[in-house]
């Protein structure tokens, strides 16, 4: 952990340092692709509204944060956005236009593409004709790819060094800048203060920066690094979770500043005046333009329209749920991909009940796979791990050793393959074998890698009392405390893809970008434990003796499921399991057929499975594309309603939630995670250049942690273009998520009073919030500032407005 001191700086300089650190927090973190999760790209801006963020990102990134006008126009023309939606939107942004006619007219003309304020590099490029921004980006990329490399290169940089130190060593030796025409760059780098903060202050002084101008300027420099600054921000995130701090965001900012300083030193006479203007522009307050207000209003209208459609879906008559003891309970992750499968499964037999719960099943596990030293954090990234687990028991020691030897020999072979001189021997001796490999992969015959069959085992340190406590908390949070079926399946989920750098992004986000079966199996183990059940019954949760919990894995790419009943040898539930397997197979077929309609080049369910093995497939599944709602209510409210795999479904029964502790948990954890997912899609659609991962066809994995497009340059976080677009149209409408909760509005208001950061998400409309009534219909809308308006009345108002 690295920290810096504040002592010895003058007031103005202290302000600059503070601005530099704040700029680091304005950037969203980026998880490495080995275990990646969706991140809200506006994480640093949730205290601001959309128009405010529009101005900010226009200035610092040259991007818009809404769609082009014609996108809204098309929706108005085809009736998706109604006049009522426009009226409601205007009520929210009264300054946007005088009336809805003006708003409609505004959709005919696309506004000019936003242009960011120029950096010194941009100004230098203008006067010199040399593409300095390109050079800086390329040079930073070369250094950063080496610095953040986790094992791609055999000859690594010296590890454990601070970013700025490592860069100074690199840049003072690197001759590229001087060859390109920046005289004395190496010497300048060598003469910068070794301490990051001193270098920051020196560079800022050289550039004539005031604290006021620095705020958005620093933000711009960091955003210009794309994913590299986000990786730095990730380090800070992890350090803070562990109770520490990290300085890498400031380090990478100062690296950018030193480039700016060097370019300014060379071109000052030509760009001085312009640079003064830019500084003044940075220092000016951010205020939305008319155009940005119109954009925001149109976006609001589109969201109203989406909510209207959602309300219609929810208003449709549901299916009756059968009373009595279900034959099977199957719990799935709240992930929208579960919705299709749950609906299919329920349709197979009325005795089946499905439930939705965050896919880590309440167990924050740090897990070591079989024969592996890697600690996989299989838990939401907002949390620290609470339990540790491991695949394999003491009796597996020999197998563990053998597997490790095989893996190490494989690793030695891998190094042989890639090392100088030995790679020639490798090619000449084994090249012809690749005929077979090419054939196998071209024909998609590489079998899927399935998770370990061996059961994960919880560490003994998590004792009986802990397990009972966890079981109570988890069952309550699942609203599953009575009427247990004889067989309760707990399904984690994971994708099943090949040759896909973004594979982990398709896995379970609640499990930190890993597949979810480990947590599900761990929970099943706890709940089957006789002692735990005894403890549960003392606390009023009676699990019948004939109830068996079994963990499983829902493969979201192929909708196949695996059930790990081998974890509980001699369980005596074989007939239940056989029946369940039959149902699950039928449900899988239904779900695949439904999903085939959305996937390109999939005529039927069989194609869906085949595509998952295709090494050239860029769209093996749609993941969470299209997500638009989060519903926390008993399943009875939504059962049989066509939610099209676009809703997160969390089982929640407020009548049983004393003190609304579970509601608080839902609003502060799963809802926040869902907002990250929804907003990642939003950002990747509306601002693909800034917040999207670019074109999969050009992806080049760097350092084992991320992708760049083509040769290098900026790391790209977010979603690839192919994940949000099918070539003809968007697979995701950029509408911010509607959260629907069946609970009293006052209870929610009380929770907001305790959690300002969650409230900000709703107040600034990064999320929308509705309460549901006992029929699953929208009842009240959260209108910001702890105010609620009835949904029906809001519609009536609109009608009156139109009439007037």
């Amino acid at each position: 952990m690295m920290t810096d001191t504040f002592s010895g700086y003058a007031g103005a300089h202290l302000e600059l340092i503070a601005k530099a650190e704040a700029a680091g927090r304005a950037i969203p973190p980026l998880w490495p692709l080995s275990s990646s999760v969706a991140v809200n790209p506006f994480l640093g801006q949730t205290e601001q509204t959309l128009p405010q963020v529009a101005v900010l990102l226009d200035r610092v990134a040259g991007t818009s944060v809404t769609m082009l006008r014609d996108w809204y126009q098309a929706k108005i023309v085809d009736g998706t956005i109604s006049d009522a939606d426009l009226v409601a939107a205007l009520a929210q942004f009264p300054e946007a236009a005088t009336d809805i006619a003006a708003l409609k007219t505004a959709t005919s003309a696309n506004t000019e593409a936003p242009v960011a304020l120029p950096t010194v590099a941009d100004l230098a490029a203008e006067v010199s004709g040399i593409d300095w921004p390109g050079i800086v980006e390329e040079r930073f990329g070369v250094w950063a790819a080496g610095f953040f490399d986790t094992g791609q290169a055999l000859w690594q940089n010296k590890p454990g060094r601070r970013a700025f130190d490592a860069w100074r060593d690199f840049a003072s030796r690197d001759l590229t800048a001087e060859i390109a025409g920046l005289a004395g760059f190496g010497a300048l780098v060598a003469s910068t203060p070794a301490q990051t903060r001193n270098a920051l202050v020196a560079a800022s002084d050289a550039l004539g920066l005031s604290a006021e101008a620095s705020e958005t300027y620093f933000h711009q420099l960091l955003l210009g690094l794309g994913g590299w600054s986000q990786v730095a921000r990730y380090r800070l995130w992890q350090a803070e979770l562990a109770g520490g701090t990290d300085v890498t965001t400031t380090d990478v900012l100062v690296i950018q500043l030193v480039w700016e300083q060097a370019l300014y030193a060379q071109y000052a006479t030509e760009i001085e005046a312009k640079w003064a203007e830019v500084r003044a522009a940075h220092a000016s307050p951010v205020a939305p333009t008319q155009g940005q207000l119109i954009d925001a209003a149109l976006q609001a209208a589109a969201e109203f329209a989406g909510q209207r459609a959602l309300a219609e879906t929810l208003n449709a008559p549901g299916e009756a749920t059968s009373e009595g003891r279900p034959a099977l309970q199957a719990t799935f992750c709240i992930d929208v991909r579960s919705e299709v499968f749950r609906r299919s499964l329920e349709s197979v037999d009325p005795g089946i009940q499905t439930l939705g719960f965050a896919g880590f099943f309440g167990l924050t596990a740090s897990h070591q796979g079989f024969a592996s030293d890697v600690e996989e954090k299989r838990l939401p990234v907002l949390l620290n791990h609470g339990v540790t687990s491991k695949t394999g028991t003491a009796s597996d020691t020999t197998a563990d050793q053998t597997a490790r030897f095989a893996a190490r020999a494989g690793r030695a072979w891998g190094r042989f393959k890639l090392a100088a001189v030995s790679s020639f021997a490798f090619v000449e001796a084994t090249g012809p074998i690749y005929v077979g490999k090419l054939l196998r992969d071209a024909l998609g015959m590489d079998p899927a890698k399935t998770p370990d069959k061996r059961a994960p085992v919880l560490d003994e340190s998590f004792g009986l009392a802990d397990r009972v406590g966890a079981a109570i908390g988890i069952l309550n949070a699942m609203s599953l405390t009575e009427n247990f079926a004889p067989l309760v399946l707990l399904f984690g989920h994971g994708a099943n893809v090949v040759n896909n750098p973004h594979a982990s992004a398709l896995h379970c986000g609640a499990c930190g970008g890993y597949t979810g079966e480990v947590n599900a199996r761990l929970l099943a183990g706890i709940l089957n434990d006789r002692d735990v059940r005894a403890g549960l019954s003392e606390n009023g949760i009676m699990i019948p003796d004939d109830t068996l919990f079994v963990g499983g894995l829902h493969d979201t790419t192929t909708d196949a499921v695996t059930i790990y009943d081998g974890d509980f040898a001699g369980h005596g539930h074989q007939s239940h399991l056989n029946t369940a397997n039959g149902w699950l197979t039928s449900a899988g077929k239904l779900a695949r057929t439904e999903r085939a309609l959305r996937l390109p080049r999939a005529a039927n369910g069989a194609d869906v499975s085949r595509r998952s093995r295709d090494w050239a497939e860029t769209r093996p599944e749609w993941a969470l594309a299209g997500c638009k709602a989060f519903i926390a209510a008993p399943r009875a409210r939504t059962k049989g309603k066509g939610l099209e795999g676009r809703a997160f479904l969390h089982d929640y029964n407020w009548q049983k939630d004393d003190g609304f502790g579970v509601l608080e948990l839902i609003l502060t954890a799963p809802v926040v995670v869902a907002s990250w997912i929804s907003l990642q899609y939003y950002g990747s659609v509306v601002a693909p250049k800034v917040f999207g991962a670019g074109n999969k066809l050009l992806h080049n994995v760097t350092g084992g942690i991320g992708v760049v497009e083509g040769n290098g340059g900026a790391l790209r976080g977010g979603l690839p273009w192919q994940s949000v677009h099918d070539g003809e149209g968007y697979a995701h409408d950029p509408l911010r998520l509607s959260v629907c909760v069946e609970a009293p509005a006052e209870a929610i208001t009380d929770i907001f009073k305790k959690h300002a950061n969650v409230r900000a998400l709703f107040d600034n409309r990064w999320l929308h919030l509705f309460t549901l009534d006992e029929d699953g219909k929208m009842s009240e809308r959260y209108n910001g500032d702890l105010n609620w308006v009835p949904v029906a009345r809001a519609d009536a108002d609109v009608t009156e407005d139109i009439a007037a």
């Binding site: 050079i135 290169a153 030293d373 190490r408 690793r411 030695a412 001189v421 690749y434 050009l698 084992g704």
Partner: protein, 528 residues
């Protein structure tokens, strides 16, 4: 002979499939891509049939479709058939891959068209029966590939890389045109087999020597040899299948030219010596740079440069059958490596799973080299009894020794003090398998090409000097590689790493000279 013209069907099929969507009703982009795959499957069938013809009828040229030695003709022999099999197979894999990969891409039809065009140009090149066709196909390959490299014309980095490649390729074109003219005027024919037959007799004089030099120059440019290699490390700016095609197909053209005109090349020991030095240096230099590359595709690109260097070295040592083996083996490996580059994330994670790497110390490395050479000796002796290894040239033996230095690295990892016995045994088994496999493949390629490719001439003083130089330099680098963890974090080594990771600034210099970072109208405002 009519049958010998069979391979011409292969490029014809691809061209037909390329133009089908333009002239047929109802052929949309997806159908066009399907036609492309069908046609590329058809070319495999043509290549297999050609192999059968060769096996039954033997070497021979087809008639010429054209006049005065200018036109299309096929030289059917082991070299062209092996290349046909290789290119059609990889072509099919790449076309099939692109069919899915490019789906939904706005200009997929354009991509498919130029992909097929490039492939048919390569197919025409490898079957060339006359130098005019050779030159035409050579240039067409590069021109068609250029269209693929600029598939995203708006990408500034793509323009920069393609421009570098374009300049190098045009110099290469001039060299290859010059070589063709010199060959035709020197030997009075454009027919390649006739030229080779005469060259084999040692005729041709100074003009033929000049032709050999020009062919060498063209090969160096085409196969990205130092210092003309820069473009190859930057052309990942096009969709992945283009990289696969380039690295597994097009870049081989340099080596192919040397092998095709082997008899001519043998006329000039001096040119061959130059190839040994350039190829050998490139192999070592690029191999070291590769170690420092943190992105998967850049690492693969440097690997290609190194492998091409090694192949050119083999040509320089007049080990043409081995160079052909190297082209085939490397192409298959590299096509797979590029197309499966998306798995890099999982591969890097897998490295960390089984715990820390056991680092061999100096004595373990020394033991490894001794044992590796011993394995080589034993395998050589044992196999030699059955497979007539006694007649091998010192060049081939030395080359085997170089490869054994590589095997030593594998052993060294198992000999590290911390390495458990099980690991030692496994790496030793791998090492023995690799050695046997290599020697068998080497023997097989010599057997297959006997009579078609010239035998390695007896080593003179120059050759012995080169052999020694190669042995020493490759041995030293292999030693440095095996001991890398012992010195790689030293400040001096880290400093060297900076320069190596930048490829010794060849690209930076050529960017400066060619204005690679000049702002053009298309990249203005693209900043940030």
């Amino acid at each position: 002979m009519l049958l010998n013209a069979l391979p011409l069907l292969a490029p014809l099929m691809l061209v037909a499939a390329a133009f089908a969507p333009r002239f047929m009703q109802g052929v949309d982009v997806r159908k066009g891509a399907m036609f492309a795959e069908m046609a590329s499957l058809g070319t495999i069938a043509v290549a297999v049939l050609s192999a059968i013809v060769l096996a039954t009828v033997g070497n021979g040229d087809s008639f010429l479709i054209g006049l005065f030695g200018v036109g299309l003709s096929v030289s059917l022999d082991v070299v062209s058939v092996v290349m046909l099999l290789l290119v059609t197979f990889i072509g099919w894999v790449v076309v099939r891959y692109a069919r899915t990969y490019l789906d939904g891409e706005a200009r997929q039809d354009t991509f498919t068209f130029w992909l097929l065009a490039t492939l048919s140009a390569v197919l025409l090149l490898v079957q060339s029966g006359n130098v005019v066709q050779f030159v035409g196909a050579w240039i067409a390959t590069s021109m068609c590939l250029h269209k693929l490299l600029l598939f995203y014309p708006e990408r500034v980095a793509a323009q920069r890389a393609a421009h570098k490649k374009f300049v190098m390729a045009r110099i290469g074109d001039v060299a290859v045109i010059g070589a063709a003219i010199l060959l035709a005027s020197s030997y009075g024919t454009t027919q390649i087999s006739a030229i080779l037959a005469q060259a084999e007799q040692g005729t041709g004089g100074g003009i033929a020597l000049a032709a050999a030099a020009l062919i060498a120059l063209a090969a160096i440019l085409k196969s990205a040899q130092f210092p003309t290699h820069g473009w190859l490390t930057e052309v990942m700016e096009a969709p992945t299948p283009v990289s696969a095609l380039l690295h597994a197909g097009v870049v081989n053209a340099g080596g192919f030219a040397l092998i095709r005109f082997a008899d001519v090349m043998l006329l000039s020991p001096l040119v061959l010596a130059l190839l040994v030095m350039i190829g050998g240096f490139t192999a070592l230099f690029a191999g070291l740079v590769m170690l420092t590359q943190p992105t998967v595709k850049a690492s693969l690109a440097w690997s290609t440069i190194a492998q091409m260097g090694f192949m050119i070295l083999q040509c320089g040592l007049a080990l043409f059958p081995l160079a052909l083996l190297h082209i085939v083996a490397h192409s298959l490996y590299k096509a797979h490596a590029f197309l499966s580059a998306g798995g890099a994330v999982e591969r890097v994670v897998a490295i960390r799973k089984p715990g820390p790497v056991a680092v061999p110390n100096m004595s373990a490395v020394t033991r490894a080299f001794v044992v590796a050479l011993a394995i080589y000796g034993i395998v050589y002796a044992v196999l030699g009894l059955g497979f007539d290894f006694a007649g091998k040239s010192p060049q081939a033996v030395a080359l085997g020794a170089i490869l054994i230095f590589g095997v030593a690295y594998l052993l060294a990892q198992g000999f590290a003090d911390e390495a458990p016995q099980a690991l030692t045994q496994r790496t030793a088994a791998y090492a023995a398998t690799v050695t046997v496999s290599y020697l068998m493949l080497q023997r097989a390629s010599e057997w297959l090409t006997a009579g078609t490719l010239p035998a390695t001439p007896a080593a003179g003083a120059l050759e012995w000097a080169l052999i020694l130089l190669a042995l020493i330099s490759f041995g030293l680098v292999a030693l440095a590689q095996a001991t890398l963890p012992l010195w790689s974090y030293h400040p001096a080594a880290q400093g060297l790493r900076v320069h190596l990771s930048n490829g010794l600034y060849i690209n930076a210099i050529s960017d400066r000279l060619m204005g690679g970072w000049k702002r053009t109208s298309s990249n203005k405002g693209a900043a940030q």
